[in-house]
Amino acid sequence: MSDLFAARSQMAMSLAFHIIFAAVGIAMPVMMVIAEGMWLRSREEVYLTLAKQWAKGTAILFAVGAVSGTVLSFELGLLWPEFMRYAGAIIGMPFSLEGFAFFLEAIFLGIYLYGWKRVSPRAHWWAGVVVAVSGMISGVFVVTANAWMNTPAGFEIIDGKPANIQPIAAMLNPAALHQVIHMTIAAYAAVGFAVAAIHAFMLRRDAQNAFHRRAFAIAFSLGAFMAVLQPLSGDFLARQVFHYQPAKLAAMEGQFTTESHAPLHIGGWPDEKSGTISHDLEIPDGLSLLVYHKTSGEIKGLNAFPRDQWPPVAVVHLSFDIMVGCGMAMMLTGLLGAWLAFRKKNPCDQRWFLLLAILTGPLGFVAIETGWTVTEVGRQPWIIYGIMRTANAVTPMPHLIVPFVSFTLLYVFLGFVVIFLLKRQVFQSPKSFREERRTP
């Protein structure tokens, strides 16, 4: 394993691990605040129990997210010192602001988790609101920094060095808004679906448990609403990628040749050597339609770019299709749930729907991981798109396989413990809350 590949693997592994906890840190507080808010309004004990139960899970996940995020902030330098030497001053603004957002999140989470008896119920709820808002904002800032790597802005290059740096313009780079919307919605959708799936699983064993019914309703509503919005933001983002990173878009779509009636390739295996894609489902004019919103429109294929500027096509294309597939399945499940509710049928009473919710539960996180792969691998071979190659950013430190393997083992261990602990908590379902059976 080359040192460059080990460094990339370690970064990918660290991000793939952290992003799960980061998404949880963004979305769980919203659900806790909803549950606690329902308790404040209705004084139904079940909502308070729910908020507390969710808070326990969040405490574990947030701590692991905080420490794995710390690792990442150091890894920027440990693995990519040349990137940081070049870009640190340019992308510092979002990171500095993120520091403060994360501060507020950590402070008010402390108050939320440990302050049940120390502050008034209303103050406690507001602490939760601050956690939810600052968690979201902190994700927003980090994503703008990543967007800068895709669409670098806010500086000029003079003699190969950055000059005239404008930190705010760098933060508000062209991809920032698009990526921020897509990632934030993804976090809510993924966590909503995953939590709903857990409660759906419990409901299939214990259908009248009011605790799980309320939990399912809140989590699924949030997830479904976001899953229905997500394709719109995906369209917004993909067309932005088409303008700013055409090679990435071509790789995402497995498009090798430049065409004005470009078809949409769904699935299949793109072969970089022959420059063709096989075993795919082809929809005529599909890609042109998606990009231009009409059947004709030129799409640059990968062949229009020098070979050494291609990202790994197969990984990017398949990741992209998996992400889209997951998103579609979640959207349809969300719509189905909405339709059931509209027909006055409680989704909690439909065993088949609960099964569907369980099956779609992990898809949001699959979509986050594959979507992140599209963003990052699709940007290769660049670390700063069009400006600095990843290979030129890596540390001179040898034997990088050692930290890669060490941190991987550490994270695998943490992952198992987290799953084990959450599982123990999930199966402690409060039995005292019964739903009165309505007339069938």
């Binding site: 574990i60 905080a66 420490v67 690792v71 940081m84 340019i90 510092g92 500095s96 540390t395 060490s406």
Partner: protein
């Protein structure tokens, strides 16, 4: 007017002081978890958990702020440190990860003794490794052994000999002892239980003498290990009085513990940490990584520093009232000891 780069440098030192006063004591709590013993071992552990539970994550963010300020305001310094100190930094991160996760795992896992003991061990190991490595990195930076080509930014490093030296490790153990001392002094203030207070008083005294020992060792080793710092500490007219004051504060903190003047001890211990870190900052100045990288030759452009300063000012307006609120809820005397 002072240059913006110096101002950011001052903020970084202040953030490091706050990190040491908060997170340092949390790490120290982990040390005392390791040494929890006697008939009150479980009560000692409970007091430690209670003390750090609500605040450790907030305290931890100071470190992230320092790292961010370093790479925004002084990118070549961050790059050079990350290259030369890759190994101790990575080990420190493992410590940080283990400390934080084992701490929450312990409070959410089954409460049987063997399970709890396992997480306690991991929590304590993380709490010991992280500060030692933090001190090693600080010592390596202070030692002036990291050489950087000012033109190309290339770091002349074999990744090991810059930090695997007696001086950085002396600083590492000194850091650990300081954090343990600070934690024990805090804990004497955070319980109404007289027996527990006596337990932590004895621990504070032991840690205090260890601090003095490693301070002496570091001072002796600095002659060969960190000549730049030694000369920095003896260059200016104020440096002798400053060092004497630091020494007096340290002795005073220890004496206050001995005399059971716990609130005074807490104030003095905090002042001691601030004086040591502040003194290090002053002795380093104007070098960030001596003798090659200075504030002047490694700072980001003026525009970046200006925007950063504005962001810091706005952020501080949100941060300090929130921190005050957090500590008022969990650390005000009226709420202690229940």
């Amino acid at each position: 007017m002072i240059p913006l780069a110096d101002l950011v440098g001052f903020v970084m030192i202040a953030a490091l002081v706050l990190y040491a006063l908060g997170a340092g004591a949390d790490f120290g709590g982990g040390v005392w978890d390791w040494f929890a013993s006697g008939p009150r071992a479980q009560r000692q552990r409970d007091l430690i958990s209670q003390a750090i539970g609500p605040i450790w994550e907030a305290n931890h963010v100071w470190l992230i702020l320092v790292v961010v300020l370093l790479f925004v305001a002084f990118p070549p310094v961050f790059a050079a440190m990350s290259i030369a100190l890759h190994i101790p930094l990575a080990v420190m991160l493992v410590g940080i990860v283990l400390r934080g996760s084992a701490f929450v795992f312990r409070s959410h896992d089954v409460q049987t003794d063997d399970v709890q003991r396992r997480w306690s061990r991991l929590f304590a190991v993380g709490s010991i490794v992280a500060p030692v490595m933090l001190g090693v990195c600080t010592g390596a930076v202070a030692s002036g052994s990291i050489r950087v080509d000012r033109e190309t930014g290339v770091v002349q490093s074999n990744f090991i000999s810059q930090w695997l030296q007696p001086f950085p490790f002396a600083i590492g153990f000194w850091t650990l002892a300081l954090f343990a001392f600070l934690a024990a002094v805090y804990l004497t203030n955070e319980t109404a239980d007289n027996e527990l207070r006596e337990d932590f008083r004895r621990r504070a005294l032991a840690a205090g003498f260890t601090v003095a020992f490693f301070a002496l060792v570091s001072f002796i080793l600095a002659e060969r290990g960190a000549p730049l710092i030694r000369s920095g500490l003896s260059r200016e007219w104020w440096s002798m009085p400053f060092q004497i004051a630091t020494g007096l504060i340290s002795v005073g903190a220890l004496a206050a513990v001995g005399l059971r003047r716990y609130r005074l001890a807490r104030i003095l211990a905090m002042a001691q940490i601030a004086a040591i870190i502040g003194g290090w900052g002053l002795a380093q100045f104007p070098y960030l990584i001596g003798p090659d990288l200075t504030f002047a030759n490694s700072a980001a452009p003026e525009r970046v520093l200006r925007d950063l300063t504005i962001a810091l000012a706005v952020g501080a307006l949100l941060l300090f009232p929130s921190l005050w609120y957090l500590f008022r809820i969990f650390k005000s005397p009226a709420k202690m000891g229940n």
